[in-house]
């Protein structure tokens, strides 16, 4: 009886020690779920979800504070992906929230007064310029978040939808009619 008690206790102590050690040794830094969600978001950093960037939104989703349908740039496909990852139902966009075609900001360089307000608004530093110098968008880095449009005091920034060209063209989904057999 006493031996059995001793054996069981020592097993418990050893296993406990192993568990305690591995909890310290293999501690996961950060929240892996946040990173997974963040990887699915389009990284526009536009703030349309109500959070100041994609990472904060991902954190909010992981914490269960935010809905998965708050990201228009991700499109419905993005919601589907998030729903699959989190094991929840697909949820369509709310009223009036619709994804827009992908665009790039364009500064009318004749009108620009060089106030640097858009520079400060750009979340990805995709605008080059300096005080009283004309600014311009680095189109390749622009995410199309539109955050530079409202601060411009002379309204010289336009959002131009990205046109399809030979390089980004995609083969269409084949549509053909099935033969009537009956």
């Amino acid at each position: 009886m006493l031996t059995a008690l001793f054996v069981m206790t020592s097993i418990a102590v050893v296993l406990g020690a192993v568990l305690g050690y591995s909890a310290l040794k293999f501690k996961v830094e950060g929240n892996p779920l946040v990173d997974k969600i963040d990887a699915m978001l389009p990284q526009t950093q536009c703030g349309q979800c109500g959070y100041p960037g994609c990472k904060p939104y991902a954190t909010a989703i992981a914490a269960g504070e935010a809905d998965i349908n708050k990201c228009p740039p991700g499109g419905e496909e993005g919601i589907h992906k998030l729903a699959e990852l989190l094991g929840v139902e697909f949820k369509p966009f709310g009223e009036g929230v619709q994804p827009k075609p992908k665009s790039v900001a364009f500064i009318d360089e004749n009108t620009c007064i060089g106030c640097t307000l858009c520079l400060q608004a750009c979340p990805v530093d995709a605008i080059s310029g300096a005080a009283k110098q004309m600014h311009t968008i680095i189109a390749a880095e622009c995410t199309g978040c539109e955050l530079c449009v409202p601060p411009c005091p002379v309204d010289c920034i336009d959002m131009i939808p990205i046109a399809e060209d030979v390089n980004n063209w995609k083969w269409r989904y084949p549509v053909y009619t099935l033969a009537q057999t009956s």
Binding site: D38, L41, P42, Q43, T44, Q45, G53, C54, K55, P123, V124, D125, A126, E141, T143, E164, D165, V166, N167, N168, W169, K170, W171, R172, Y173, P174, Y176, T177, L178, A179, T181
Partner: protein
């Protein structure tokens, strides 16, 4: 007799090659204009225009400068004047325009100064650079820059395979090139062999081209070539695919995700070998290629065509029949419908087939897939086309990739045998381009995330630095004050200096006042330099202007008063 191997599957579509091999290669007439596309190679890197509208160019002059690693140069195919550098219809399935240089020939066909050299006397890196600047790309249709393929790096290339199989129906440009210019092809192969340090060169030609095989063998016997062999391979479509031909000739099976270079084999089209020879031995850049014009035409034949020749003008020389309703670029199995007959011939254009309803009747309506797996039986890449079809149709792109969608060479054998006439390859193309688009988006998102995180970090750092600077200043000020205190106390006791001494705000005020005084003094000192030594007339004019200014100021003031 060399032992040959088999690859999985394959089909035997009607060859339709004899129509266009009856006459020798004809020189196509100089067209009224040349529309030379600037992006004529595989890969996303751009080719930058090197000429402007109005420039006069000579034959062989560089008009497109390669930028980036996977890029190739473009040259003027004849002498003339650059009419425009703008977006024109190109031979691309999207029917979207792309940047082209339009040249109006002056009829003189005047060459730019060029000279050939002996490849043995050149450094290999220089030779590769020469090929890049000569615009040499794979002429089998893939148009991948050849200079990159001719660098083996750390891999040991044992076999250089020269592809003269030309398995696709209707196309005969390689056949005719081998019949007429065999020696030059072999000389080109020799240069490639040297660049790759390849032990042997195997030239694979399908056995339905006996004349080409004979011509190549004759040329081989006439020259002093090292370890070269012309081999007749069985005719089966797609025996001209690079991986398939390597398999047949060497028995190497290239696994998923591995390049043939890693397995010790590299494959080039015979046309590429020919243009490598012309570029090195004669210094001629790639400005023309052999094109088969066949199908619904009076005189199907091969032409040597200047790149940029509008398709309509080329086809007219073969006598297009009136009921022609379009063109296919490439063969009937893998070719694409030409969106505009005004587009210029490119390096990828090996064949144009004029189509009519009689020759190519519209595909019968598709029936549902009955899972017969005949497609899997003929697939040369050993894939499961029916599974890929279901995944592509359901847009399950991840699944399609798991089933090795990217090993599909789009040969069309599956669609050819499908009893339900399902356009299978279209589904694979759709799925592939969809996956590429996703990858592009993912890359863009990764860059955006990185930049955003860097920005946040930068803002944080700036804040920290500002705070540190402020703290430092405050410390310095406190120290200065501490040093001043005893002195000030002593001063106050000694004399009735400005009562301000003790009060910091008053001290600041005094400093500002002093600065203003200094500025005023400076302003009175500095006078405009152009008002000295003036004539009385000029003085009078100045006085007049001043009077006018005063008047305007007066008016402005009264207006302001009124408004207020």
């Amino acid at each position: 007799m060399r032992k040959l191997y088999r690859f999985h599957g394959g089909v035997h579509p009607p060859a339709n090659k004899t129509q266009s091999t009856q006459t020798p290669i004809a020189q196509a007439a100089l067209p009224s204009k040349l529309v030379v596309a600037l992006h004529q190679h595989a890969g996303g890197s751009a080719t930058r225009p090197a000429v402007q509208p109005g420039d006069h160019v000579l034959k062989g002059q560089l008009i497109g400068l390669p930028e980036g690693r996977i890029a190739s140069a473009v040259h003027a195919p004849t002498s003339g004047m650059v009419l425009a550098v703008d977006r024109q219809p190109v031979l691309h399935p999207s029917a979207l325009p792309d940047l082209c240089v339009t040249i109006v020939p002056d009829g003189k066909d005047e060459w730019i100064a060029h000279h050939g050299s002996d490849y043995r006397e050149l450094q290999h890196s220089d030779l590769r650079h020469q090929l890049r600047m000569a615009g040499i790309v794979g002429l089998g249709g893939a148009v991948f820059p050849s200079d990159l393929k001719l660098y083996a790096g750390k891999h040991k290339i044992k076999t250089l395979v020269l592809n003269g199989a030309e398995c696709e129906p209707y196309i005969t440009c390689d056949d005719m090139l081998m019949r007429e210019r065999a020696a030059e092809i072999l000389r080109g192969a020799e240069i490639m062999q040297a660049l790759l340090y390849a032990e042997e060169v195997l030239i694979g030609i399908e056995d339905n081209k006996p004349e080409a095989i004979a011509a190549m063998q004759q040329a081989l016997a006439a020259g002093d070539y090292r370890n070269m062999e012309v081999i007749a391979v069985p005719t089966v479509y797609p025996g001209g695919g690079a991986k398939q031909l390597i398999r047949v000739l060497t028995g190497l099976e290239v696994p998923h995700g591995v390049r043939t270079t890693e397995m010790g084999a590299q494959c080039f089209n015979v046309g590429t070998a020919y243009s490598v020879y012309r570029a090195v031995a004669h210094g001629e850049p790639l400005i023309s290629r052999i094109v088969t014009v066949t199908g619904n035409v009076e005189r199907p034949q091969n032409f040597e065509v200047l790149l940029g020749t509008p398709l309509a003008e080329l086809a007219a020389q073969a006598g297009v029949k009136p009921d022609t309703d379009g063109y296919i670029m490439g063969g009937p199995m893998m070719g694409i419908a030409v969106p505009s007959a005004q587009a210029g011939v490119t390096k990828a254009a090996n064949c144009f087939i004029a189509t009519s309803r009689a020759l190519f009747p519209p595909a019968p309506p598709a029936l549902p897939c009955i899972r017969c797996t005949r497609c899997a039986e003929v697939c040369p890449a050993d894939l499961q086309p029916q599974e890929l079809y279901w995944f592509a149709k359901a847009k399950e792109l991840g699944k399609a990739q798991e089933y090795h969608l990217f090993d599909c060479i789009e040969c069309g054998a599956c669609s050819y045998v499908c009893p339900s006439h399902i356009p299978l390859v279209q589904y694979y193309r759709f799925a592939k381009s969809e996956i590429w688009a996703h990858e592009r988006e993912k890359d863009a998102a990764d860059i955006a995330r990185e930049r955003h995180e860097f920005r946040l970090e930068r803002q944080e750092r700036e804040k920290r630095e500002r705070a540190e600077k402020l703290a430092q200043k405050e410390r310095a000020a406190a120290a200065a004050k501490a040093a001043e205190q005893p002195a000030a106390a002593a001063g106050a006791a000694a004399a009735a200096t400005p009562a301000a001494a003790g009060q910091p705000e008053d001290a600041a005020q005094a400093l500002i006042q002093a600065a203003i005084e200094r500025a005023k003094a400076q302003a009175t000192l500095v006078k405009p330099k152009n008002t000295d030594n003036l004539t009385p007339a000029q003085l009078a004019e100045i006085a007049e202007i001043e009077a006018r200014r005063a008047k305007i100021r007066e008016i402005a003031r009264t207006d302001n008063d009124k408004e207020q």
